[in-house]
């Protein structure tokens, strides 16, 4: 039998008199100096919302400019600054921290049954680092402008660019420290603070996903720091590292940069694997299909992700044999992603599926992520990549993974855990509508990019031959829908905080420790320290399926001692 044993009577038996983490302390100081992981998650959420708007403004400027083939809104430098702003902000100040610092921060201690993260003050410090780094970056982008693209390729960034490259580099280094601190914190928490009985293979997949992500953060980010320091050394202090006229090698930069940045795409997508696994299994009332395969797939991706950086350099002039090795490894890394897609799909099999908003986001995610992943097979094939690298095909590919995938999962996860975080319910009809709108808006915006990319439209172009205009117009039109789908939830979620119906402790009848405490949880997460003696999913008894009539089978199984 599967169950969590609450040490003393079932949680609802206790009168809800203890204040929640939201009301435990009051005043602005109690927020800005808090070491409560749940409050820090909300601080991150506020910061990320701001950065999402800034990065989004860049996207609006880009799509507006590309509506026509000519330059009509921005100057050439202005356009270059816009996509640099969009890219740097979206990558390092939105996507990399998104799910880990918000949902991860909030949920990891709850999921492993701990009172807080292992290093609560480090957690707060990493938020301040992040805010400070963000402020520096925005200053650099606004005051001086940076026009290197988020990739900072040398020797352009070291010798030829006129913008505030040094400052931007510094900001990203600081954000990197913040991300390392967060990663270390999660690793320590998952290793050391698991509740009694919470073995490794009883961790929910979300915790595994964050574990894999943290590993990659801690191991890859220092390389980014190193390479940006080298850029600063060359640009600021004339130390020749990349400049070929003084014996340097510009390709060295690309190797080091992608050694971080390829694993970084897994920093962005692994957490969403966790979110989707939790949602799919809950709303199909079926224990996740192939739990241990899912865990190994996460670890496989986290490790093999370090071995494929050279697939960004097929046309860079690296040796053909290096390209062959990287192509091979890139094909191999497609396998664990495929495993995940099939396992999610088969979790639906013989389930009792309902389609609340989180489930709609999750199903949309599976579709978009599948397309994103399959288009990656084209890129792993050298002859095709030679043609489409640095074109809109690549822009389409990474937006399908990072925006269609990771951002959809972020919205899905938010809508799933929102009642736990705030103790409020949001209007489900609006939420369903927003989820469906996001799917179609996304497809409309980014699918045309595959076609124009294969036709040869290069990326980072402000002006372009007329033959590409149809596709750009489609894409810009789709972006309007997509923007609506992103804004809508901000509206009804904010609304729900004030006027939403109160949420029960476990509104979705989900399993997992976080649902066994109150909504919102008390400051110390659990009134009584939890003990665990079964795996994370028990939506139906082993050897049976979920019953027709009870949506909450696990409730029946909670043993009353």
């Amino acid at each position: 039998m599967n169950h969590i044993t609450p040490a003393i009577p079932a949680p609802d038996a206790i009168p809800h008199e203890e204040p929640s983490y939201l009301t435990a302390e009051r005043g602005i100081g109690s927020w800005l100096l808090t070491t409560d992981h749940k409050r820090i998650a909300l601080l991150y959420m506020a910061a990320l919302t701001a950065f999402f708007f800034i990065g989004g403004a860049g996207a609006v400027a880009i799509r507006l400019e590309l509506f026509t083939p000519k330059a009509d809104v921005l100057t050439a430098d202005g356009y270059n600054r816009m996509f640099t702003l969009h890219g740097t902000v979206m990558i390092w100040f939105f996507l990399v921290p998104s799910i880990p610092t918000t949902l991860g921060n909030f949920l990891i201690p709850l999921m492993v049954g701990a009172r807080d993260l292992a290093f609560p003050r480090l957690n707060l410090l990493s938020w301040y680092l992040f805010i400070f780094a963000g402020a520096v970056l925005i200053y650099a982008l606004v005051a001086g402008g940076v026009d290197t693209g988020w990739t900072f390729y040398t020797p352009f960034s070291t010798t030829f660019s006129n913008g505030y490259v040094l400052l931007a580099g510094l900001a990203i280094i600081l954000a990197g420290f913040s991300s390392i601190a967060t990663g270390v914190n999660f690793l320590a928490t998952i290793h050391l603070l698991r509740a009694p009985g919470m073995g490794w293979f009883r961790l929910p997949l979300f915790a595994w996903a964050i574990y894999g992500t943290s590993l990659v953060m801690v191991l890859a980010t220092p390389v980014l720091t190193a390479v940006l320091l080298l850029v600063i050394a060359e640009r600021g202090f004339g130390l020749p590292v990349f400049d070929p006229s003084r014996g340097g090698d510009p390709l060295l930069f690309q190797h080091l940069f992608w050694f971080y940045s390829h694993p970084a795409v897994y920093i962005m997508i692994l957490p969403s694997f966790g979110v989707i696994s939790e949602i799919v299994t809950c709303f199909s009332r079926r224990n996740v299909f192939g739990y241990d395969f899912m865990v190994y797939a996460i670890l496989w991706i986290a490790i093999a992700g370090f071995l494929v950086w050279g697939h960004h350099m097929f046309v860079s002039g690296q040796s053909i044999y290096a390209s062959l090795a990287f192509s091979f490894l890139s094909f191999v890394i497609a396998v664990p992603s495929a495993i995940k897609v099939f396992n999610w799909t088969f979790t639906l099999y013989r389930g009792q599926i309902t389609f609340e908003a989180p489930m709609l986001y999750a199903v949309g995610f599976i579709g978009l992520f599948t397309i994103g992943g399959l288009t990656g097979l084209f890129l792993a094939s050298i002859p095709i990549d030679v043609h489409v690298s640095d074109t809109y095909y690549v822009v389409g590919h990474f937006h399908f993974i990072m925006v269609g995938g990771a951002v959809s999962a972020f919205y899905g996860g938010l809508s799933f855990w929102w009642p736990k975080i705030t103790g409020r319910k949001y209007p489900m009809t609006w939420a369903r509508f927003a989820a469906i709108l996001m799917f179609f808006g996304f497809g409309f915006t980014f699918f045309p990019m595959f076609i124009m990319g294969y036709l040869g439209m290069p990326r980072r172009y402000q002006v372009y031959p007329e033959e590409f205009q149809v596709w750009h117009v489609m894409s810009s039109a789709g972006a309007v829908l997509l923007a609506g789908a992103y804004l809508l939830p901000m509206g009804y979620l904010a609304w729900s905080v004030f006027w939403g119906e109160k949420a029960e402790d476990d509104p979705w009848n989900a399993t997992g420790l976080e649902w066994s405490t109150s909504s919102p949880p008390p400051r110390d997460n659990f009134r009584t320290p939890p003990e665990v003696d079964e795996g994370p999913y028990f939506y139906h008894p082993e050897g049976e399926g979920p019953g027709h009539d009870h949506g909450d089978p696990h409730r029946d199984q909670v043993r009353t001692p």
Binding site: D77, N80, D147, G149, Y153, P155, F156, T159, F160, S161, P244, S245, R246, G247, P250, F289, G290, V315, S316, G317, S327, F331, V332, V335, A338, I339, F342, T345, L348, Y349, R350, I353, T354, V363, I366, G367, T370, I371, L374, L377, F378, A380, S381, I382, P383, I384, V386, H387, D390, T391, I451, Y454, L455, G456, R459, Y461, Q462, V463, E544, D549
Partner: protein, 313 residues
């Protein structure tokens, strides 16, 4: 008219399209499978439907998992083998390829034919003959991209990269810079014109040619002081012992550390910019580095001169 497929104007383009087509079919099938399963399960197993539930059949929980892991792995390996085979076979170098030098700089392409004819933001090539571009950049990294040929190669400062293609269809095609290179990156483009070989020969003959590349190189060879050591063919004075350069191009050179290398463009270039790296066996390493003294265009002339030096009979 809306185009869905780019023009196909090189032998490689046709192969790449074939690979793309097969991948499209395979990926389309996978997408269809996933889509049908997702939709099918969603409908059939919606809450409260009368479809059979209960435990998963034994075969589904293990064999299927192992099965699709193995299937995707084999599919991945097959695709890798095929794509790689194609890449390795594409465009084997041909001895009689037409050589064109390409010099990229912020925001312009300069191309130079063997006879000295120069073009800016344009390139004319004959149909059906292999063209070999020897490319380098004067400033930042650029990328030479002709979608109709499915050909792309980054162009780096301080290094020579090569791009080979054989055009199969006459016409005029877009040339783009595909690597972001600063302010006017989007305007750093031009055209590639493919002509029938006879037309090309006629076109080439009437081009005003800059001074013949190799002849300019010879002048540089003297004015930069190379001749002082290496001697020139007209019997200049050679006070320092330095290797003869006649016939060195594309011939094997024994080095001090025991390796034997072929003196291709990259080697000659390194010999001039970083002479300490590969020292010729039997000679003192006294040759000074010319890095910073010889700029890219001069380098191309020097190389053309060195290549033109035939072994004296």
């Amino acid at each position: 008219m809306i185009r869905f497929w780019p023009a196909t104007a090189s032998d490689v383009a046709a192969q790449v399209d074939q690979l793309t087509g097969v991948l499209l079919a395979i990926c389309g099938a996978i997408l269809l499978l996933v889509g049908c399963l997702l939709l099918g399960f969603s409908i059939r197993y919606r809450r409260g439907s009368s479809a059979k539930r209960g435990a998963l059949p034994e075969i589904v929980s293990r064999e299927v998992e192992v099965g699709w892991t193995a299937a995707t792995l084999f599919l991945a390996l097959f695709l890798f083998a095929w794509a790689t085979g194609m890449e390795l076979r594409a465009n084997p170098p041909q001895p009689d390829a037409i050589e064109v030098h390409v010099l990229a700089r912020q925001w312009m392409w300069k191309t130079r034919h063997a006879n000295g004819a120069q073009e800016i933001d344009a390139l004319h090539v004959p149909r059906g003959e292999q063209v070999r571009l020897l490319m380098t950049s004067q400033d930042v990294i650029h990328s030479f991209f002709v979608p109709a040929f499915r050909a792309k190669q980054d162009v780096l400062p301080g290094r020579l990269t090569e791009l080979r293609f054989t055009a199969t269809e006459t016409g005029t095609y877009n040339l783009f810079c595909a690597e972001y290179c600063g302010t006017l990156h989007a305007r750093m483009g031009g055209t590639v014109t493919v002509m029938e070989p006879e037309d090309f020969a006629r076109w080439l003959a009437v081009q005003p040619r800059g001074d013949d590349l190799a002849r300019e190189g010879a002048a540089l060879f003297v004015s930069l002081g190379c001749a002082g050591c290496h001697g020139d063919r007209r019997g200049g004075s050679a006070t320092v012992r330095a290797p003869k350069l006649e016939g060195v191009y594309n011939s094997p050179v024994p080095l001090q550390d025991g390796r034997v290398v072929t003196a291709d463009e990259a080697y000659l270039r390194d010999s001039i910019l970083q002479p300490r790296r590969d020292v010729v066996a039997g000679f003192p390493n006294v040759m000074p580095s010319f890095a910073g003294l010889v700029h890219e265009e001069e380098m191309q002339r020097l190389l053309a001169y060195l290549r033109s030096l035939k072994d004296a009979p």
